[in-house]
Symmetry: C2
Subunit: 309 residues, 2 copies
């Protein structure tokens, strides 16, 4: 077996371990990112015994083969779910997005990789939970100290969170991405959407209409009454659902400044829907979700290593 | 083969042929129902060549074995869809719900059973279609001459229609039943709903809340944060979706008198949701959907056999 050298300057490893993906970053003590990697070995693909080996596989090139100090790994996301590596109990809002002292250590980690999994957030009324997005919120607070408003994190399950005084005071989950996948692939609308990528103009028009649930079936009916390209049907369906989410979130937002945090393809889609609906005040602050997750993990690492005064 | 006798007084046959079910009634010339039957050989289970034999199978006991006059069959519903027995082209609203002169004769009917399929209705903006519900609307107009208002016909695809001066002026389709089935069986919420029948108290509370899309995920989150019986999760999901439909239909209804037409289990559910939301004015008129389909088919038959003055 060939023994490689440890990545120069490696101090700790940051990991965002979601349902469908695992992202890792090799971090220097001064906060620089030395390397990054990703795989599709998300929590949904793994049983409990699979997490340790999956982590070791992806970071092994950074560790080197010789004897050396352990490298701490800080993990956020679904790895901390009940059906994940180890359950990291939720913290109830209102609270700061992170409390690294409440992180949980799983069994079965390689001795070279002491792992801590950060807890998610819960809310009692209405009942709601998040795992991973709280770390993006911590990243936003670290990146923009003093920012207050509502953060929309679009995705399979979009999260909207109120941030005030460095704390998360309330949040809501919208199942928009999952609804789109179910309707586009398994409902009667699949006959019109036919697996096409959404057309942007049809998306904008549908999002602006605010018709939402009242016109979902029009995606199919339009195709029965005339020729509608599948991409237009897909765009219309996506626009109706994103528009319905934004409308349903309006009272939660309550006119507060908005930040969009997520994958650029999704945040730009939501920014377009917000603009198409109009009357939204200032344009939203847009930040990359992966950058914010890493910034949040770095903030947690800094808190854990802070020398007590 | 045993030759039975023709059902005494049989003049014509009424058929409501939906996607999942076929219902038939043996009718006397004076409008009395002599017999009725139903099967699960809906349009969704049949290819084009299967409709004639399926119809003959279910009405054969009424025809008798000897030589005798043909028995006309009047059909409404999805049998007239493009993928049904024969396409009965839509009629565009605003229009009366029925025009029997626009019925379509399919190929392949048994010579003893001359079949006419009634057309559905279409709307250009927003694009929408219905097949079968227009006959229930005709039945309501026949049963309650002069009634005007908005008719809600709950189901897999709920239809809301404005009726004025004996005509349908506009309508909207809501995919509520299909959304429930997809979310309860195939989304992450299936883990909480677990195939249970909806609990009525949880339904009422969720319908009254008006939370709709903003709290769908609470169905799952509540179960992660505490013990929630599956029936309560199912009731909450159903109440959120029906409540969202009623809220989204509010501007379409515009305060008009409401009639609920459908299966009693569904119309009573919607009546409860309307009452739970409150402020709805007079209680809705509630009529059985199957009765109204038959009344509409009888009205169409009467129009076809009317002796010109």
């Amino acid at each position: 077996m060939r023994m490689g050298a440890r990545l120069d300057g490696l101090d700790w490893i940051a990991a965002d371990w979601g349902t469908s993906r695992l992202r890792v970053w090799a971090m220097a003590a001064d906060g620089r990112v030395l390397a990054g990697s990703a795989s599709d070995r998300g929590m949904g693909q793994l049983d409990r015994a699979g997490f340790g080996p999956a982590l070791l596989d992806i970071v092994a090139p950074w560790l080197g083969g010789g004897a050396s100090d352990p490298v701490p790994v800080l993990v956020c996301g679904m790895a901390g779910a009940r059906t994940g590596w180890v359950e990291a109990p939720y913290r109830a809002v209102p609270c700061t997005p992170l409390d690294p002292a409440r992180a949980t250590r799983p069994d079965g980690a390689d001795p070279r990789l002491p792992v801590l999994i950060l807890p998610g957030l819960s809310q009692s009324s209405p009942p709601d939970v998040m795992r991973g997005e709280e770390t993006q919120l911590a990243g936003l607070i670290a990146a923009r100290p003093g920012w207050e408003g509502v953060v929309c994190m679009p995705g399979t399950h979009s999260k909207w969170a109120r941030v005030r005084g460095g704390r998360v005071t309330a949040f809501r989950t919208f199942m928009t991405g999952e609804l789109y996948a179910l309707l586009a692939r398994q409902s009667v609308l699949r006959l019109s959407v036919a697996g096409a990528e959404p057309d942007p103009a049809a998306f904008d028009e549908a999002a602006a209409s605010g018709a939402g649930l009242a016109e979902l079936f029009s995606v199919r009916a339009a195709g029965l009454l005339g020729d509608v390209p599948a991409a237009a049907a897909a765009g219309r369906l996506s626009g109706l659902l994103v528009g319905a989410e934004i409308a349903a979130a309006e009272s939660f937002r309550g006119g507060a400044p908005l930040a969009l945090v997520g994958a650029p393809a999704l945040t730009s889609l939501y920014a377009r829907a917000l603009a198409a609906r109009g009357g939204g005040g200032d344009p939203p602050l847009i930040l990359d979700g992966s950058d914010m997750a890493l910034a949040g993990l770095a903030a947690a690492r800094a808190a854990l290593t802070k020398v007590p005064a």
